[in-house]
Structures are given as C-alpha cells and as structure tokens.
Symmetry: C2
Subunit: 140 residues, 2 copies
Amino acid sequence: MERVPVLKIGDILLVSIQIDMEDQTALQLQEDLAEKIVATGCHGVIIDISALDIVDSFVGRTLATIAAVSRVLDAETVVVGMRPAVAITPVELGLSLPGIRTALNVDLGIEMLAFSRDGAWAEDAEDDENEADPAAVPTP
Amino acid sequence: MERVPVLKIGDILLVSIQIDMEDQTALQLQEDLAEKIVATGCHGVIIDISALDIVDSFVGRTLATIAAVSRVLDAETVVVGMRPAVAITPVELGLSLPGIRTALNVDLGIEMLAFSRDGAWAEDAEDDENEADPAAVPTP
C-alpha cells in the first residue's frame, strides 16, 4: 500500500497528495496525520493538491474529514495548490468542501495559518506583538 | 505522465518524491525544478524521499543530477527523510551519491541550508540581520 508522507516544517505539517486516493490510502493518511499532530503539537496542516487532476466526491470527503479531525486536535487545515481546471469539478458536483479553507500556494497557506493563529492568540493571551494591531476589533 | 510538484516554501523549494521514478518523470522533475529555481530565485532545494522504499542506482543518479543542476543555478540541494532500511541499498550498490547532502528531516534540512547560506552571506555581504526573513528573496 502506498503511503502519503506527512512532513513537519516548523510548526506546520505539510501533506503533498500525489497518488490516487483510495480507501486505504485515505484512512492511513487520516491516521498518520492525527498521530503526527498529537506527537508534534503542530497547530496547522497544509494539504497540497497541485498534483491532482481531479477532486471528486471521495477526495472532497477525505479532505473534509481530515480538516474535521485536525480541528478536534486543535489544528487548522488549509488546502493549497488547486489547479484552475480542478476547481470547477467540486463546484459542478455540488461539493461545498465544508470546513476547508483554501489558499493559492503553500506560502499563502502558511500566511493564512499564521494570521488566524495570531488572531486566536490575541483573544486568550495578553502578550501582544509589535505587529498586533491594537485597533483590531475583538470578535464578540 | 505523472508529475512531481515543486513547492515553494519561503526561499526554499520542496520536492516530495512519492511515485516511482521513471525516465520521463525524472527528466520532467529536473526541468520543472530548474525552471522554478530561476523563476523564484530560491537558493535551497529540499528533496524528501521518505515515501521511497528503495534508492536504486537510477534514483541515486537522478538525485545527483538534480543536485548538480541546482548548484549551477546557485541553489543547494539537501535530500531528507531517507528511511533506515533504504540507506543500506545505496551503500551496498556502491553509490556514493556525489554532491548530495542529507539530513534526517525537512526541519533539519532547512537548518542546514540556512546555516550554509549564512556562511556564504557572511563572506560576501556585511549586512547581517538578526532573523533573516525566509520570505524575502533579495533580487540582485
């Protein structure tokens, strides 16, 4: 069985999906990722799908499950690298990709995770950084 | 033909090899990587082979070629994630993996690249920052 490696880069986990997702591969990936989130304490997961030719309902469901599992483990998921032609399929299939945030590439995905994490920190911690905007309106 | 995606993360390029290397795939990867080095001005390339079950002479030669091409384009290559069992094969085959530096994982590979780049910078530039911004690619 083929296995999708989970790479740790700083405090994010990166998964580059290049092989066709089958039931076993998808389950194994969910398990590996969950274990790695717990083992490393990472708060962000980036899934690159730039190698995928199509995002069908199975892939969409797999991504949604990964995002949901990660959220339970206090990690956010961003899906990056979706090709223009690929983006059309889930829309046509009526897949809403619930709970999945997307970014154009890995760099932007990392930015998105850093930004939302800073926001979360600002709420429950007092240590504001220079960059933190004091005028930012806290969400009620 | 399957294609291995080249991901840009800060000022390094990351390649996660998960599929069996065939002639066309390897050539395409070399080409994609060379183009991306030139397009982004990245100085570091990390190749993750944690998904590979074996490093035979073809894979070894491919990695060596990628490292050589990258060096010509002023980028250093580090191969990361080699599994313990996998490491035995190239030694037994007598492959010396010329010009290839290795690290245990992506984080250590990034450190290795940063360290050798800082060393190179210190020689020809005086402006040392406390924290080199990995996202900033100085265009000459």
